[in-house]
Symmetry: C2
Subunit: 387 residues, 2 copies
């Protein structure tokens, strides 16, 4: 959300609070014990969630929104009327909008190991959480968790609310992974699926690219193998990781609109150690975000993303064959992080299995981020697909 | 050249030595003193060069080839008949080939601060060179050098050979920067220009992306602000930088053909510190290359690339307006490092100034690297343009 905001502000775009802006509240869901797919137990697990709209009598009007890597459960609305910004997909979630809260009850939850663990509006469980058994943060004793684990925690939340079917699951980026996994695991529960800027699998190229986000943290001497909670965060490594995430989420066109061209700088012409203004600005913005994020949480989210493949086994193509939900893939044309080819390959595997996924591209200058800040461009496709 | 080789071998391609393979010899050019555009003096400067074909009587048949970031002057031919591989553009440089050495005298020189400084076949001057004034390697006391400086050293080499006009200047990637700068500075000498996988300028996005190659070196404690020659190279930083360069030069399609998919690995499922086979292989290959490369040289090449803009002033569009040479831009369709948009923007600026640059794309799976290993796909365009 904050990346989104930063970019919005940088781009000189304005965000008009409609008079009908939803006022939303964070809620807490607690699972006393959760066992991961790998067999580890985490006790307890807490996650935050929000809901927009009204649950109907037979609980048949639920849409689940699953968030992206740097995102939170704050998909729409504001916490207070005076908030400067609304949730990340407020352009399409609300009364009369594409995901119409006059019709649908929309639920959005924080993932395990959410990046923004020190944001007051986020509730998550991860390596920065105090392990009740030791009284100290888990650090690397927290188990590696997967997209499948994220989905199982969401499933437990929905079970606790007595919700057994979903009109749709919709999510951008890492949210698309969760949405697809929902449709693979629970084909009888998921009636529609919209993977936005997503993929049904992680390829070698992307897994290595994501490792490059982790590298600055893992090589920061202050990381201490993840056991830094007494000494303080590996701030340089974390800041650098967040800077890289920001750049990789942008298309060069959007990036160059936001950051100064190198010819404006003179120091780098004389000193190899000097850096460019574009680099400095990117790092400064990342440093602000680092204040409410946690380095280990970034590593765990990277790992969950790297391990992603539909069905969490060794054959994602067979897994997506289990999807029965009508599906709408919405990649962003300029996306260099999860480019349209990944959506196309995912859709092709479903087509080969007899499904008939739809496909449309989100236009824009922002690349991957068009799936967040540019989502309004495909509002009518989403509305049409849902209704 | 070795990246090229590694990739070739990994891809299972074979390289057939033709019976007419050129046998070439490295030659040395020495400038007693060279003053950089920034006003620093380097004394002496040595660079290596090679030539293919025969200089005609009026010295009017010269084509200059300028090499890419990781490349050397070894553009074609072999040093010995038994060499397993030929120069990087051997597919288009040789008797009867697109750049026909039966007609043209082709010259290729090592740049200043060449990456492969410890390769026995490379002669270059840079931070790893012994400064005669101190008896120790220059380290960061070596001045920041630019593409303009590279061109001036090449100009001195050609002057020493009595060559005053160039039938063409042709170069891939960083070689395109040098080729364009030749045509900007010496429009009366450059008769044809072929920027391959290139650009007339560096944008903020690319400058930051290149800084990400430098980061692992600059943050390696063994880098010692560039003063590591007694203790030994910052090998982890250098290896990582070379791994990133390899990935960034590849399109995901080509990368995924070369490196194993993440689902084949189990250790990363249980340990955040564990890495994927794809990462390990990339790093192992990079470690081999690191044995003959120098960390500071990489930083200086990154900086020269970051500072690149035609004319080396603050308006590259005005600079390219000085080019009178017929020009053929040859970007690679799948290039994510210097994508076709940069060639298109460069060509558009020339068109706006009244030039009529031609444009064609190199097809292939390898991305940026298609400008090196896939160059044969545009051999006929190159031959047609030169003749």
């Amino acid at each position: 959300m904050r990346i989104f905001l930063t970019i919005l502000l940088l781009a000189g775009l304005s965000f008009n609070a409609c008079s009908d802006t939803l006022i939303v509240q964070k809620q807490r869901f607690t699972l006393d014990r959760f066992t991961t797919a790998s067999g580890s137990t985490i006790a307890p697990v807490n996650i935050g969630w929000e809901a927009y709209g009204k649950l109907n009598a037979d609980k048949s009007n639920v849409i689940l929104i699953t968030h992206y890597f740097s995102g939170t459960s704050h998909a729409a609305g504001k916490y207070h009327a005076a908030d400067t910004a609304a949730g990340y997909w407020d352009a399409i979630v609300g009364p009369g909008k594409a995901i119409d809260t006059n019709k649908f009850y929309v639920i959005s939850s924080d993932t395990l190991v959410n990046a923004n663990v020190f944001d007051a509006n986020v509730i998550t469980t991860g390596p920065a959480t105090i392990n009740p058994a030791t009284g100290k943060p888990y650090g690397l004793s927290f188990p590696v968790v997967t997209i499948g684990d994220f989905v199982e925690v969401q499933k437990a939340l929905l079970d606790s609310l007595g919700i057994s079917t979903l009109h749709a699951v919709v999510g951008p980026s890492m949210g698309s992974f969760q949405a697809i996994e929902w449709a693979v695991r629970y084909p009888d529960k998921v009636q529609r699926l919209i993977p936005v800027i997503g993929s049904a699998y992680m390829d070698a190229y992307s897994a290595v690219k994501l490792e490059r986000w982790s590298y600055p943290i893992k090589t920061d001497p202050a990381w201490l193998n993840g056991d830094y909670y007494q000494q303080g965060q590996p701030i340089q490594g974390l800041t650098t990781a967040l800077a890289y995430i920001t750049q990789d989420a942008l298309n060069p066109v959007g990036f160059n609109l936001n950051y100064p061209a190198p010819e404006l700088d003179t120091a780098p012409q004389h000193d190899i150690r000097a850096s460019f203004s574009a680099w400095q600005q990117l790092m400064q913005q990342a440093k602000l975000r680092a204040t409410y994020q946690d380095a280990n949480h970034i590593l765990y989210l990277v790992r969950a993303s790297q391990l992603w493949r539909a069905g969490m086994g060794d054959n994602w193509q067979q897994a997506v064959a289990k999807i029965t939900a009508p599906t709408l893939f919405l990649p962003a044309t300029g996306d260099l992080l999860l480019p349209p080819a990944l959506s196309k390959n995912s859709a092709a595997a479903m087509t080969a299995a007899g499904n008939t996924p739809q496909y449309a591209e989100i236009p824009g200058n922002w690349g991957h981020l068009d799936g967040v800040i540019g989502i309004e461009a495909v509002a009518s496709q989403i509305a049409g697909f849902l209704n």
